[in-house]
């Protein structure tokens, strides 16, 4: 771990028990996050993005079948803590989350100011008054007018409610903020406003972010690095420059080709077929069935491989295969 390293996730697994069998929602996920860095997690609906966030923050449903691996935050493996310690020392204090559809899950009978103050009051020994001072400071950061502290959620627009949810995740000054689809339900101007807010916070507060989304264009507004998930696994981790320029994994390439471009005449293409069921994912590469480059090797599961410092889970980038290609080219 470098001294700027904040979070290291290793072989994180979260499986759910259902009547149909075991859902392998998060399957041996590993990645590292630096202080002040924003990592975007991209992937189709159902690939396990929210489950990954919940696994990191230990927000688990009842039907967990398996939960294992390590989540090392500031050199401490928080997976080793018991639930009480985790709640007291980690959640809100070190990491917080803006859950998917947060703006629709604010408490309707509490004034939004009181709601944002709540995590401070329950986790730190601060007076209501000091908490409200901090709430106002956060409202200022995220661009909520200060007199809104007295309002109720239903009196605010969707964009303002989302800002309130973000303010709530910041109020305890955590090192890491997980944002699950923070802009998906919002219109373009509100989206741009929220992304501006996040950019400012990232700069002013030196906070780290994990931004989960399937909106690829918007994700490029914040990303330092990009991780792509497919069927419960990470298939590529790359810098934003590399990724948005030309990703490596065949799935990532198709994902990028599906984004309609406003400023280029490039007809978007969809990815034929559907992701595999997480009940019984295929044994080899999980994307093979939809991949244009499939070959014999793909019936074996590829590991996450290093390609010039970029990570990709695809046999095309295996050393032997690259050598073979080079040989063929030479012949």
């Amino acid at each position: 771990m470098t001294d700027r390293s904040l979070l290291r996730v290793e072989d994180l697994v979260l499986y759910f028990r259902t009547s149909g069998g075991t859902v392998q929602a998060v399957d041996k996920v590993s990645f590292e996050l630096q202080r002040g860095e924003a990592m975007v997690i991209l992937g189709e609906s159902g690939c396990g993005k929210t489950s990954l966030a919940k696994a990191i923050l230990r927000l688990l449903p009842r039907n967990v079948h398996r939960y294992s691996g390590s989540v090392i935050l500031d050199d401490m493996d928080v997976m080793q803590l018991d639930d009480e310690d985790f709640r007291r020392r980690v959640r809100w204090i070190k990491m917080s989350m803006v859950p998917q559809a947060a703006m629709n899950s604010l408490n309707p009978v509490l004034r939004v100011g009181d709601q944002v103050a709540e995590p401070m009051i329950t986790h730190f020994d601060v007076s209501k008054r000091d908490a409200m001072t901090q709430v106002r400071r956060m409202f200022e950061h995220v661009g909520v007018p200060l007199d809104f502290v007295k309002r109720y959620a239903f009196e605010l627009s969707g964009g303002m409610r989302q800002r309130v949810a973000i303010a709530m995740s910041l109020v305890t000054s955590p090192d890491l903020i997980l944002l699950d689809e923070p802009t998906s339900a919002l219109d373009v101007l509100t989206q741009a406003n929220i992304m501006n807010v996040l950019k400012r916070i990232k700069k002013d507060m030196d906070a780290s972010f994990i931004l989960i989304t399937h909106d690829i264009a918007t994700s490029s507004e914040l990303a330092d690095r990009v991780a792509v998930m497919y069927a419960g696994q990470i298939v590529e981790v790359d810098t934003a420059e590399n990724f948005f320029d030309e990703p490596l994994h065949p799935y990532s390439k198709k994902l990028m080709a599906s984004v309609p471009r406003l400023r280029a005449d490039q007809e978007p293409e969809f990815i034929v077929g559907q992701p595999p069921s997480l009940l019984n994912p295929p044994l080899g590469c999980r994307f093979a069935e939809r991949c244009d480059f499939r070959f014999e090797q793909c019936s074996e599961e590829p590991p996450l491989m290093d390609k010039d410092g970029r990570q990709v889970r695809c046999w095309l980038y295996a050393k032997e295969y690259e050598k073979m290609l080079a040989r063929e080219a030479g012949v």
Binding site: N196, I216, E221, L255, V259, F270
Partner: protein
């Protein structure tokens, strides 16, 4: 209203509006206001959700309506569908003026328009199978029982819900978001409408499934010479899936233009703002802030005087924009902008 008077009224409308020019939908000075009630004090005002909208939609044409949340897009659509009564002005589809129809006429009118609603996940009744969902509009419109299976099958093939037998018995929760949206589209298509109204048909779906569904709608439009109204706030998809774009702000259409004309030469400052806020994926986006006009969309109960965008407009002309409402100016043929800058 008896059937014969309805026919007479239709005939008059057709004459007045000049059906022959190819417009399948005509909207004239449309206003849809909602009464705002206050306890004990009667009416407190009006929400002017649609406030003076005009346009023609041609046979087989796809238009997109873009604009911020709450600007009145869904209200406009629901009025076209006959779900809301116009407060003032006129909506007519192939000569039938909605608002003048009795219940029988309204039923027939609605059968000409297919509706793909905003939220695919709430659009389908959870306890009905795909077959029952698709049979319902046929039953309501008295399609003979022996024809129904064939019609259902045809609609499912058209939206690529195949093999048909695999899907007929399924309930919505057994389908992916994209498949559910296909069922919604199949249901909208099953009465062979001339117009499809799609309200944010893909906003809840993934990038790839979005493209798949939009391409499907586009293909249906072309093969059936369907007119399509596509409502969205996502300008990037509009480019590939419609012929004209209408930009809506606070109950009004502020710019109407062919797609490329609008994207290459946007005129209204609000259109500029929408474009500036929309990005293509690019790592450089992270190093700068987006330009967003200050403030929020105005109250529709007390809209600003003059041009409704003037309080947020960087190009506002003092002494004019706050006082007088701009009419539409046609800077190029077919490109209309309601803004004093284009006088």
């Amino acid at each position: 209203m008896s059937d014969s008077t309805m026919v007479e009224e239709q005939a008059i409308d057709t004459e007045e509006t000049g059906q022959h020019n190819g417009a399948m939908l005509q909207i004239r000075d449309l206003r849809v206001w909602f009464e705002l009630r206050r306890f004990g004090f009667g009416r407190a005002g009006w929400v002017r959700a649609v406030d003076g909208v005009n346009f023609d939609l041609l046979h087989g044409e796809a238009i997109a309506i873009v604009g911020e949340s709450g600007c009145g897009k869904s209200t406009l659509m629901k009025t076209i569908l006959g779900l809301y009564q116009p407060t003032d002005g006129k909506v007519s589809v192939q000569g039938d003026a909605v608002g003048k129809l009795g219940s029988v006429g309204l039923k027939e009118y609605r059968s000409k328009i297919g509706y793909v609603q905003q939220d695919p996940f709430g659009a389908l009744p959870p306890f009905m199978t795909v077959r029952a969902i698709l049979e319902e509009p046929l039953a309501i419109n008295n399609v003979p029982v022996h024809e129904r299976a064939e019609r259902i099958k045809k609609a499912m093939v058209e939206v690529k819900l195949t093999p048909v037998d695999d899907f007929l018995g399924k309930f919505p929760h057994m389908l992916s978001g994209g498949q559910q949206q296909r069922v919604v589209i199949a249901r909208a298509m099953i009465l062979q409408p001339a117009l499809i109204v799609a309200d944010e048909p893909v906003s809840m779906l993934d990038a790839s499934v979005r493209v798949e569904i939009l391409k499907l709608l586009r293909a249906l439009q072309e093969s059936h010479n369907l007119a399509v109204i596509y409502i969205t706030h996502d300008l990037s998809t509009v480019r590939y899936f419609s012929e004209r774009i209408f930009v809506m702000y606070a109950g009004k259409l502020v710019e109407k233009a062919p797609v490329l004309s609008l994207l290459r030469n946007p005129e209204h400052p609000y259109t500029h703002a929408l474009l500036a806020a929309s990005v293509d994926p690019d790592a450089r986006n992270a190093s700068s802030l987006r330009e967003v006009p200050p403030g929020e969309p105005p109250s529709l109960v007390h809209p600003p005087s003059g041009c409704r965008f003037h309080p947020r407009c960087p190009k506002r002309i003092e002494g004019l924009c706050a006082e007088e409402e701009p009419p539409e100016f046609e800077s190029h043929p077919g490109h209309l902008t309601a803004c004093w800058l284009y006088k």
